[in-house]
Amino acid sequence: MQQLTEIRWHARAGQGAVTAAKVVAETALAADQYLQAMPEYGPERMGAPIKAFTRISTTPIEIHCNIENPHIVIVLDDSLLDVVDVAEGLTDDGVIIINTCTPPEQVRAALNVPESVRVACVDASGIALDTIKRDIPNTPMVGALIKVAGVVDMKVFKSLLAKNLSKKFGQEMIDANWASVDRAYEEVTVA
């Protein structure tokens, strides 16, 4: 496994990208790895485009700056594709995972990324509405991430998810979130 994995999250404020960026980072602790997760804070208001960052590494992380050349880009809202250059700086062997109903071939054409970059699509909002009953696509997106890029251990992620949710919710909500992760893991398609 490579030493350092850098993930950049694109979302609209309120979709849970910051939380996801943090939980994904936290999973690294179980594997005794190093981690960093931070949001790019701006004027915070629901719906505004935001970025968040996750670093996971086998060696200590000493840099404190934004991620400009991510290995993985996760886009929680496909309407951002018109607004933000989500593929900016993505490494040539990178992967971009998008919450969308559009098939990956079509998204790839719109993105104009090199052949070596993988484009993965999953209808995380649809899955979230089915399972969690709310359009909070952050947890299913992690399911897609696990399938497409590894990086995160499914068991560790699910247990952290349960720990976080149990502060506010009951087992029913935990089960629904777990189901959303599993479904995204199964349904994500790559082109």
Binding site: K22, E26, Q36, A37, M38, Y41, I63, H64, C65
Partner: protein, 395 residues
């Protein structure tokens, strides 16, 4: 060495945990971004009974520090937190806390000063308070912020010192990022900080004393300021001693300055706070290519470790000082001025150049640091005339 818990959490959460573990009698604070989650967490710890602290909500930072001063004079162990405009609003009271020799511990989550309004990191706030006789520690990481906060209590309360301590961490960069860190257990911290034995506590009714006395014209104001300077001078060895004691329980060393690659460096960057990591990262890459570069991180800004700095920078061919604040109208940023001054007595004075960077949270990109090392190499190797103050990465 004590057993430690590995955690993944934010700098602010760790500072709040440190505050819980040092068990202050009183915390008086006013929330301000990016400090808020520290005081919110303390309030939660108090509400859930995890710490028996009297948490005082105030209507401003001026009042927060005033309440801290009252509580500390009464004989309580006192902690608080603020940043940026909040620290600026405390300014009058900062001098009263230190002048009354009250060992208050405060976390400052470095934030820029308006205008234009900005909530992000720079060091303008703390540099504005640098002359207020507060011992000032800086953290690079969440881990250091946690460690510094615990050490701050021992330093402040040391009988040779009795000065307030500001423990600084970079706003958002360190406060809000999730990082990997180790936490000591509650008992170890409690034992390390010990029971607070106040000097001249107002609530010690067996030994009544009078505080806040007038010392005006013809009085002794001048003499009391000399006492503060002497206490700050004594703090140097106390900071080092507390650092050693902390290293013994945590395994993490603490130096007033921390060098990387300085043993045989030809050029070096002097830096404070989270950016030290970025600089070290670039220095590692340049070392791998055979360039003799070093990094000098200042962890204790007050008292200013002149001797350590002098011995680390002696003999270098070129030095760059990175300032995350400006002293408008001065020759350079505050750190630059002091570093240059520290080197003045050397027989051979190395060229020192100044970069103001990262104001208002501007991202400290690695290529900017590469540029600074490249400039240094130009001065050291190709005898390029050192440039005056540069705003690093400005459009």
């Amino acid at each position: 060495m004590a057993e430690q818990k590995l955690v993944a959490t934010t700098g602010n959460a760790l500072v709040a945990e440190a505050f819980r573990q040092i068990r202050p009698d009183v915390v008086a604070a006013y929330p301000i971004t990016p400090q808020s989650s520290i005081v919110e967490d303390i309030a939660k710890h108090v509400a859930s009974g995890r710490v028996h602290t009297n948490y005082v909500t105030t209507e401003s930072e001026h009042s927060a520090m005033s309440a801290c001063i009252g509580a500390s004079a009464a004989g309580a162990r006192v902690a608080t937190a603020t940043c940026g405009p909040g620290l600026a609003m405390m300014w009058e009271m900062l001098y009263i806390a230190s002048g009354m020799r009250l060992p208050i511990v405060m976390a400052n989550t470095n934030r820029a000063l308006s205008a234009p309004i900005n909530i992000h990191c720079d060091h303008s706030d703390v540099m504005g308070a640098r002359d207020s006789s507060w011992i000032t520690l800086f953290a690079e990481t969440a881990q250091e912020a946690y460690d510094n906060t615990i050490m701050a209590v021992r330093i402040a309360e040391h009988p040779d010192v009795l000065l307030p301590v500001m423990s600084c961490l970079d706003g958002f960069i360190t406060t809000h990022a999730v990082d990997r860190a180790c936490m000591l257990d509650d008992e170890t911290v409690a034992e390390f900080v010990g029971e607070y034995v106040p000097v001249n506590a107002l609530l010690d009714t067996e030994n009544p004393s009078s505080h806040g006395n007038f010392s005006g014209l013809g009085g002794l104001y001048f003499e009391f300021k000399a006492q503060q300077r002497a206490a700050m001078a004594r703090a140097s060895s106390v900071v080092a001693e507390v650092g050693e004691r902390f290293a013994a329980i945590s395994g993490r060393s603490f130096g007033m300055v921390e060098g990387w690659g300085m043993e045989d460096a030809e050029t070096a960057i002097v830096v404070i706070g989270s950016s030290a990591g970025n600089v070290r990262h670039v220095a590692r890459q340049l070392r791998a290519k055979g360039q003799k570069v070093g990094v000098l991180k200042i962890r204790c800004f007050r008292p200013f470790p002149v001797e350590e700095i002098r011995s680390a920078l002696r003999g270098l061919k070129a030095i760059a000082v990175l300032d995350r604040s400006d002293s408008f109208g001065a020759e350079g940023g505050p750190l630059y001025l002091e570093i240059r001054s520290a080197l003045y007595d050397l027989q051979e004075r190395p060229p020192v150049v100044n970069y103001v960077y990262g104001l208002g949270g501007a991202d400290v990109k690695l290529d900017l640091i590469e540029r600074v090392y490249s400039d240094l190499s130009g001065i050291a190797v190709d005898a390029v005339e050192p440039a005056p103050l540069t705003y690093l990465g400005i459009r």
